[in-house]
Symmetry: C2
Subunit: 218 residues, 2 copies
């Protein structure tokens, strides 16, 4: 267990908590043959601890983490249903009562036949934009979908490179949780870079066009 603590960079108490919650299976041994041997933790344990850490870091409650782990453990399943089951356990957790009618209409236009929690997530996001007075048109969303598809296809190629379905599901779930913030950060950085380029371009002009510039001290 000491080695697991070191390699995973996780406190011993945390690992004991995972064991108590049944998220992590106990190490092998001590056995009746060798009752004083230390429990033996494998690469699988290390991988599992890293996975649980990533999911708690993404604010998943314990019950949802269990669902994701169960989906990953169901090695008999093919990729698609196992992935669907795991992704359903990821935030955001939205009300399931409404049919995501607009999202489904737009997805159909984009040639996608997918349903499920991500469609509701899209519907919810579109409504929030409407309510805030910055609505997206169907065309806007289709354009987004096209650009996002390029990103997803690049990622999907990496999922497909994983040897077995279990590694593929693991990679897909972790990628969803952990690469989403990478994409969000890069988008903000690109915006800032574009804003900066614009401000450099326009600096010589704005003072004459906008006499209130630098009035913040007055």
């Amino acid at each position: 267990m000491s080695e697991l603590v070191d390699r995973a960079g996780v406190p011993r108490a945390t690992i004991k908590f995972y064991l108590r919650e049944g998220l992590l299976t106990p190490g092998v041994g001590p056995t009746p043959d060798a009752p004083t041997a230390a429990a033996d933790y494998t690469e699988d344990h290390l991988e599992r601890v890293q996975l649980i850490r990533a999911l708690t870091g993404a604010s998943l409650p314990i019950g949802r983490i269990r669902t994701v782990l169960d989906a990953l453990d169901a090695t008999s399943e093919t990729l698609y249903p196992a992935m669907g089951r795991a992704l359903r356990a990821l935030p955001p957790y939205l009300d399931e009562s409404d049919e995501p009618l607009r999202a489904l209409r737009i997805l159909q236009r984009s040639g996608q036949t997918v349903d499920g929690p991500a469609a509701r997530q899209l519907e919810h996001a579109l409504r929030a934009a409407d309510a805030a007075g910055v609505p997206l048109s169907d065309d806007d969303v289709v354009n987004y979908a096209r650009a996002v598809r390029v990103i997803a296809e690049g990622e999907w190629a990496r999922v497909a490179e994983q040897g077995d379905p279990r590694s593929a599901v693991r990679f897909a779930v972790l990628g969803t949780v952990l690469y989403e913030p990478v994409i969000a950060a890069l988008r903000r950085l690109a915006h800032q870079d574009l804003a900066r380029a614009d401000s450099l371009d326009s600096t010589p002009d704005t003072t004459s066009e906008n006499p209130t510039t630098d009035s913040s001290d007055t």
Copy 2:
């Protein structure tokens, strides 16, 4: 105020809370000339209520909302610094102590000279992926940056279409908060669509290759 409640779709108590917190300026009137007139709320008030709702919906605490609103109100500022100030108030709220060395190196490779909170956000996201055992190489991130740039440029064209700097900052901030979930949802949908296409392609083969399929009932 009744009209504002109706049009914004926000409870009266919420609007009173915004007024008390100073997030919303009181309606014009009653004046000494017309002491019994109802306070008059304008389109600006409606817009402001929608904005505050969007920010609370994105889990911003009141203090941070005030910072965003202040940045939006500073109409004397040009777009770039106002946007930077507003974006710094958006989540995630990360420790500022570490230099985001890897993020800055990658951004430099992408030809971006931006610093600030989004660079730290990127650094944090890359570290989380490393820790979970699904690291991204610098090349991976540069590829992400390239694809995300396409999305950001499309959005930036819309920011630039806004008439005045104030509308542009408003659009940029709301777009960051409200379109991020749209992009996240579309990415998950694209993944599911790709997984589904793969599973349809491979269904006839997998049963022979993987004898454990459908063993979940045993």
